[in-house]
């Protein structure tokens, strides 16, 4: 097993210095955004579990035929199936990988990982967070206490146990994770990339700061005036954003806090399809739902108006 290669600080600084950090407009289409990612790159995926998954971006990357990405995410669910099943990724770095809590073990994940076609590097949840944080801080590692003594640590030679120089206790060092590209779905942002995230932020702010390049998909684009009226609401600053794509319901069939809940009927039927036949079922889902639709709105059409609006009703209700 080859180890992830540590990035040098000079390389990180060099890449950042070449980025356009001016206050410039970055609005583009999903297709244009997918061209910012090349085969084999490492891609950090925002959100967690079934929440704020940048599903439209993943959908487009599969359609654009990207291959062999190394994908990292806090917790991986049905989008992970699609990453492996389409060949978009063959290496997932995460803390948990199944379709979601309700459906048990993912047969798609099992088939790809058990056969050795794909690699699943398991870290603890905090370890993924500390790896993005080290990446965001521009330091090579973060210290932490979990994972010591476990087989999660034994199977991760990239992590190191040291004797703390201050306290003489054992402490774990986890290496920085600086993805080539981060893809993150947000509630709103201006054309420059000043982004608002409502509710649960997960690891997205560290991920945005850590990556060499950031693509945002957003439920809606708002004006820079609106951003300036409430700057405390801005969670990701424009100068670390390279592409902005407006995609309403861009996390479907997953959820977006306060906007829509997960679309469970669609997810149920997806899971039935792929778990009963991880190869044929996946192929038919990809053909019908990823390749066939002419647009993201067409994909939402396949999920169905009733389900999309029902999810929106539940997501917006606060009673």
């Amino acid at each position: 097993m080859h180890l992830e290669k540590a990035r040098s600080y000079s390389d990180l600084r060099e890449r950042l210095s070449r980025r356009d950090r001016g206050l410039s407009e970055k609005v583009m289409s999903l297709e244009d955004a997918s061209a910012l990612i090349t085969d084999g790159q490492s891609v950090g995926i925002g959100g967690s579990m079934m929440s704020r998954t940048p599903m439209a971006m993943i959908w487009q990357l599969i359609r654009s035929g990207r291959k062999n990405l190394v994908c990292s995410r806090s917790i991986t669910t049905s989008e992970g199936d699609l990453l492996l099943g389409s060949g978009l990724s063959n290496h997932i770095i995460t803390s948990w990988f199944s379709q979601g809590i309700m459906w048990g073990i993912s047969k798609v994940m099992r088939m790809h990982v058990e056969s050795g076609q794909a690699r699943y590097d398991e870290w603890s949840h905090l370890a993924i967070g500390m790896r993005f944080r080290a990446g965001a801080m521009g330091v090579p590692f973060m210290p932490m206490r979990p994972m010591l003594g476990s087989d999660v640590l034994a199977s991760r030679p990239e992590a190191r146990v040291i004797n703390c120089p201050f306290t003489s206790e054992n402490i774990l060092l986890v290496p920085a994770l600086n993805p080539d590209v981060a893809i993150i779905h947000v509630h709103s942002c201006d054309p420059y990339g000043n982004a608002r995230i409502e509710g649960l932020q997960f690891m997205d702010i560290d991920l945005a700061m850590a990556a060499d390049k950031v693509i945002l998909t957003t439920e809606r684009i708002i004006s820079n005036d609106q951003i300036r009226r409430a700057p405390d609401q801005t969670k990701i600053p424009f100068f670390c954003v390279d592409g902005v794509v407006e995609v309403p319901f861009g996390s479907a069939p997953h959820e977006c806090y306060g906007v829509y809940e997960p679309m469970m009927n669609h997810l149920d039927s997806y899971v039935r399809k792929v778990n009963s036949d991880p190869i044929g079922g996946m192929k038919s889902y990809l053909d019908e739902h990823i390749y066939a639709p002419r647009s993201w709105n067409d994909y939402l059409n396949l999920i169905g108006l009733e389900e999309v609006l029902g999810a929106a009703h539940r997501g917006r209700s606060n009673d």
Partner: protein, 257 residues
Amino acid sequence: MTKLAEFTTNEHLAILSARELRNGQVVFAGIGIPLLAAALAQRAHCPNLTILFEGGTIGALVEPGRLPPSTNDQRGAKRSNMVLGSSEVLLLLQRGYVDIGFMGGAQIDKYGNLNSSLINGTGNKSAIRLPGSGGGNDIASLTNLMVTMKHEKRRFVEHVDFVTSPGWLRGRSTRHESGLQSGGAFRVVTELAVFGFDEHSREMKVIALNPGVSPSQVQENTGFELLFDSDLPITQLPTGTELRILRELDPDGVLTS
């Protein structure tokens, strides 16, 4: 008086483990029965119980009929006291703000180590890849851990195939020696019995039996030799109040059927 047939195994697990929680505690609850049990405790005997979820939720208030489908989504976060980033909420465990970590288990051994990663080991053709740690390893590494799970011989094994979430590792002081200075497995709740861990050897020990269950029945369903407390109280059957609150929380039996 409630009769045995009047509740499901999952309802029994939720009620028994809810009783282990105390008012004023801070509990970090995983999805499934732990979430439900914490919500039950909050509505029954622990109004000041603070529930934390992995997604970044502090002080969750689970509403009847609106159980979250995971601990990383908006249903678990709305009406809480605060939402944080995922790393921040886990760092609260590391700092020591949390009394009890509470999760389910797929496979457990006599030292309370849990496996949710791999059955039949690395590189084996018959290996089964399970979902993995999630926050499980972090919770087990940093808190006093309570586990609730169904009691089956294949799930209660001498040694887990893979230590995902550390209990007492190989017993005695091995957990501490590995660098895990705090916490450790302290309760396991099943439909047969309630378990603690011997304070020296750190082996699993029966501390209470559920009604109608004999010590030999517990041993027969366990893949390692159990310790038994000399005095074994019998747990109280679920009360009508506990069952009513539980069924209000989960009217469709999503987690309890």
